[in-house]
């Protein structure tokens, strides 16, 4: 029998040492050690070298595109994703289960496949690309708009899957009470529904944004990859590696890693915010 210690509470179940040992060993070897190698490589550069690399004109242009396109895509996803989640939770319509299952397609579809598929649909000769060009004068493929379209596809499930459970748990009786008291649909939405799902929406938005910033496979086929114009940061890292500029690749990778950690923090904060809200709503 294992007893209690400062480290863990006692339990009669076996296997603690074995499973925790294997978990921490595997995590350290596969994830933490390689990440440390990247940090180590970056710290071997001088400050001037590092600053020159991460604030280079081409790097700055790539951040603008990666972050800007991911932000626009996440906004569009927050809007349409909410409508989709709302329709799936609140309405009954033929094919609802099928639509619900399809939401996860971007999770399951390899990014290279969605990349060439979007390029085929939106290219100047693709069936949608032709029409958009003809009627709206809008070229999607090989411009920043194409990057946004790819990131909308990639980010959609994050928003829908975050908002759905929040809508299921939202208190319908509050909405009905507000309606009975004479509130219009927009007032009910603004004062009752939106506050209830806002934390979930923020979580979904941040997850879609974070995924969009790092996305590679679905973007590179539709973006055209012109330096300073349609070159995302992950692609710039790949290009630096191909030119054997390991320091440059490490510096950019380190910068993106910092941003990922920051966003992970935001997601955790949003989630604990939403947990506190639910607890309060239950009381």
């Amino acid at each position: 029998m294992t007893g209690a210690s400062w480290f863990r509470q006692s339990s009669i179940l076996p296997g603690f040492g074995l499973t925790l040992g294997f978990t921490t060993f595997f995590l350290s070897a596969l994830v933490l050690l390689p990440l440390a190698a990247l940090v180590f490589k970056t710290t071997s550069m001088t400050w001037a070298e590092f600053i020159d690399t991460v604030l280079d004109e081409r790097a700055l242009a790539s951040y603008r595109l990666s972050f800007g396109a991911a932000f626009i895509a996440a906004c569009i996803n927050a809007f349409f994703g909410f409508i989709v989640a709302w329709s799936l939770v609140r309405y009954e319509f033929p094919g609802r289960r099928l639509v619900d299952a399809l939401i996860d397609l971007p999770f399951a579809l390899p990014t290279a496949v969605s990349g060439i598929a979007l390029a085929a649909v939106f290219s100047p000769t693709g069936w949608l690309g032709v029409k958009l060009q003809q009627y709206l004068g809008l070229q999607v493929a090989y411009t920043w708009v194409g990057v946004v379209v790819a990131l909308i596809l990639i980010g959609l499930p994050f928003v829908v899957r975050s908002v759905q459970p929040a809508l299921v748990e939202a208190q319908r009786d509050l909405e009905e009470a507000a309606e009975t008291l004479g509130a219009g649909p927009f007032t009910v939405f603004r004062r009752i529904i939106l506050p209830a799902v806002l934390p979930a929406l923020v979580t979904g938005f941040t997850m879609a944004f974070a995924r969009g910033v790092g996305e590679y496979g679905s973007v590179v086929f539709i973006s055209g990859n012109l330096p300073l114009k349609t070159e995302i940061t992950p692609l710039l890292i790949v290009i630096k590696l191909e030119q054997f500029d390991y320091n440059g690749a490490a510096a950019l990778g380190f910068t993106m890693l910092l941003v990922s950690f920051l966003m992970l923090l935001v997601i955790n904060l949003a989630q604990s915010w939403s947990r506190r809200r639910y607890v309060r709503a239950d009381n």
Partner: protein, 284 residues
């Protein structure tokens, strides 16, 4: 109790404006999803069969494509069991015991989800590449990791690392451990308890995690692309083969390989829906 009857009554008394709103929102949802999800899927199929079934099938006779399929299967055959084993161990440690630093451990397990696939490949280049931490030692001993199969396996393992653990941790936490404790108290061995008590309880969650892990392992592009070196017939997986064929304007062949990967995604979704349906029926 009061919710049931009035709701169905209300539905028939919905005002025309609300009904129009409802139809409008459903229409917006379906057209948005149709444009975003179905159009690309349709494009893959129509391009793959653009020159008929014969040409489609012909694409799979290319020796480079055949070896890409083999490498993808090999990678998944190594990565999925290892990550499944890890996921079960991690979930057991985290769900069955209370210990310090648990939430940090959960955050660290989720880390690969937050990291760009390109960075996932990059970190292995920094570790094993010619200019990496262990590069010199590996070169001296004539071991190649980067631009070779081990690198592809490691990068794939990195990006699919959290999938099984992610599914099992909340499930096992929610199920509690009374039954396991009872089995142990009655004298069952640890292994018997796991096989006869825990495994049947987590079966569906486990299947779900494994198929998601498999789909990602077979479809990973960014991380693998960084470490593979794109050596034809040797270090190209199916997604990389799609890229190579596409960049050579061999569109039918590229979309033919892509359609197999799309089929894999559809099968994954079907199994996922089935598993969710089973889980719903058991709890509901």
């Amino acid at each position: 109790m009061a919710g049931g009857a009035p709701r169905s009554e209300k539905r028939s008394h919905v005002s025309p404006a609300l009904r129009a709103g409802r139809i409008g929102l459903i229409a917006v949802s379906i057209s948005f999803l149709g444009l975003l999800l179905l159009a690309p899927l349709g494009a893959v199929l129509s391009q793959a069969f653009a020159e008929g079934v014969r040409v489609f099938l012909e694409s799979f006779k290319n020796p480079d494509t055949i070896s890409a399929i083999k490498l993808t299967l090999l990678t998944a055959a190594i990565v999925v069991p290892v990550n499944t084993l890890f996921g079960i161990a991690a979930a057991w440690a985290i769900a069955k015991f209370e210990f310090k630093g648990k939430s940090l451990l959960i955050t660290l397990i989720d880390l690969p989800f937050a990291i760009s696939p390109v960075i996932a490949g990059l970190v292995f280049v920094m570790l094993f590449g010619a200019h990496g931490w262990w590069g010199q030692w590996l070169q001296d001993n004539d071991i190649q990791v980067i631009f070779a199969v081990p690198g592809i396996v490691l990068a794939t393992m990195f990006v699919t690392f959290p999938y099984v653990a992610r599914e099992l941790i909340p499930l096992m936490q929610q199920q509690g451990s009374e039954e396991e404790e009872a089995a142990i108290t009655l004298g069952a061995s640890a292994w018997t308890t796991f096989l006869r008590v825990t495994l049947p309880k987590i079966r569906w969650g486990l299947i779900y995690g494994v198929i998601l892990c498999n789909a990602r392992a077979m479809g990973e592009f960014g991380a693998v692309s960084v470490v593979s070196g794109h050596i034809r017939g040797l270090t190209t997986t199916m997604p990389l083969q799609v890229e190579i064929l596409y960049n050579e304007y061999l569109f039918v062949a590229a979309f033919a390989v892509a359609s197999v990967l799309a089929l894999l995604a559809m099968v994954t979704l079907v199994i996922k829906t089935f598993v969710e349906w089973r889980a719903d029926r058991r709890t509901g």
